[in-house]
Every structure is written in C-alpha cells, then in structure tokens.
C-alpha cells in the first residue's frame, strides 16, 4: 500500500505537467479560432476545466461530509475541508474566467442569469463551510455543522447543472456540434477540451493530495501539543 502511494506521488507531478503542457498548447495554439467569437472563445477550455475541478471537489466534500455525519471520524472531516478549500479556489477561478469571457461576448462582466446566480450561491455555501469552523468554539460541533452545509451544497450542484435547461437564461449549454460553423465542430477543439479537462482534473488530484498531507501534519502537531499540554 505504501509503495503504491509513493509511486502515485512520484508519477502524478510529471504526468500532470506533461498533460497540462499539451492542454495549453492545444487550447492556445492547436485548436482553431471559433467562427463567431474569434480567439476569446479559447477561454472556454480553461473555464470548463475550472468547473470540472469545482464539481469534483464539492462532490467530494458532499461525500466526505455525509461519511463524517455517519461515522464521526476525523479523516472524513479532513477530506471535506481539503476538498472545500480546493473547490472554493476553482469555483472562484470559474466565476472569474466566466466573467472575463462574458465582457467581450455579452457586453457585461456579470448578469443575474439563473446558472450564474446559483453558482454564486454555491461559492457562498462553501465559503460558509470553511468560515463556520472559525466561528464555532467546539471543533466537533463546527465540523458537524460544516458537514451539513457540505451535504446540502450537492443539491446546488445539481441545480447548476439543470439551470440552463429548466430556466431561460443567457448562459448557454455546451455546444459540441452545431451546423453553421459554431460549436466544437473541429476535432482539434474537442481534443483541446478533453486535454484541458484531464489536465485540470490531474492538477486537482495532485493539489488534493498535497492539501491532505498538510492536514495530516497539522493533525500530528495538534496531537503533540495535546501531549505537552497544559505546559505548551
């Protein structure tokens, strides 16, 4: 088990860097310009990747939170907290890249479209998930309250996914192929999207492992401090 873990830790960084290099090449050079939007459409490749990482992170938080509420074991709280931190990072970047893309295409940095609004709510849910721990004195109570938020946030993930189909908004669904030259009609565009999604998923996995390592070290520090208490 230990050998397998260290092999993953050894291979993950170079593989991520290689795939990321290929993804950036395809997104910025290899894929052709979009017929309607021109080069600015290339933001799409990184924007979509941010959402894959965000959904993976918050999905993990939901699962870890549920397991924490059932089992009350520290490890699931640690996984949830690490996932929430990373999810918040990628969610912030997803909102920011979307806003930068919206300005030249929609003519505005932000609009209260159902999907965008629900995404902002998602950001707030997981920001509250992390803040709650500092606001509640009892760490176990803080972890339990945060876990309830972590589970409820998954409902918002589903709503975000469905928003473009249920409510009329300005945000489009992903167009994979559309007659008339728009959408991801070109194989190089699809390759750029797939590589970008894969690269940022690998980056998310790598960062998650680093964050969990840090959480384990913090756990060691806390245990050693407890052993030294009350003198420390």
């Amino acid at each position: 088990m230990k050998t397998k873990t260290s092999l993953t830790d050894t291979l993950l960084p170079p593989v991520t860097i290689l795939v990321m290099g290929a993804a950036m090449y395809m997104a910025l050079v290899g894929a052709p310009n979009d017929a309607d939007q021109g080069p600015v459409q290339r933001i799409f490749y990184v924007h979509m990747a941010m959402w894959l990482a965000t959904f993976s992170a918050f999905g993990l938080v939901g699962l870890a939170s549920l397991l924490y509420l059932v089992k009350k074991t520290e490890v699931w709280d640690r996984v949830g907290r690490a996932g929430a931190e990373l999810g918040l990072l990628f969610c912030t970047l997803g909102l920011a890249t979307g806003s930068i893309w919206a300005k030249p295409i929609w003519g505005t940095w932000w609009t209260w479209d159902p999907r965008l609004t629900l995404t902002l709510v998602l950001w707030m849910i997981y920001a509250a998930y992390l803040l709650l721990r500092n606001l509640v004195n009892d760490p176990q109570q803080g972890a339990s309250l945060a876990a309830i938020l972590g589970v409820s946030g998954v409902a918002d993930l589903y709503l975000i996914n469905r928003a473009v189909y249920w409510w009329r908004g300005i945000h489009p669904a992903v167009v994979v192929n559309k007659e008339g030259g728009t959408g991801l009609h070109d194989p190089a565009m699809r390759a750029a999207l797939i590589l970008s999604l894969l690269a940022f998923f690998l980056l998310f996995t790598w960062l998650l492992r680093l964050r969990l390592q840090s959480a384990r070290l913090q756990g060691d520090v806390d245990r050693m401090r407890d052993r030294l208490a009350p003198g420390y």
Partner: protein, 53 residues
C-alpha cells in the same frame, strides 16, 4: 481581437494556482519545523525524572 481578455483569463488561473501551491509548500515547511521542535520538547520531557517539575 479581444486578446487581452484571453491573456487575462489564463494569467489569472496560473497566478492563482501558483500562489496556492506556494502557500501549501510554505504551510508544509512550517508544520514540519513545528513537528521537529515538538518532538524535541517531548523527548526532553520524557527523559526527565518523574518528580522533576
């Protein structure tokens, strides 16, 4: 051409990821240093005779 928007989006992502990785690395180094110090303190305490204050 709107290239400035394209540049801004990718630059923002990479700057944020690099800052996050840097903060993780710094946090890891601080924790390792703290663990070394705490281990030394624990070893010192455990090596003292039981009745020493």
């Amino acid at each position: 051409m709107n290239l400035s928007y394209l540049f801004a989006a990718y630059a923002l992502v990479w700057v944020a990821v690099l800052l996050y990785v840097t903060s993780l690395a710094r946090r890891g180094r601080e924790l390792e240093r703290e663990i070394t110090e705490l281990r030394a303190l624990l070893a010192e305490r455990d090596s003292r005779p039981a009745d020493t204050p």
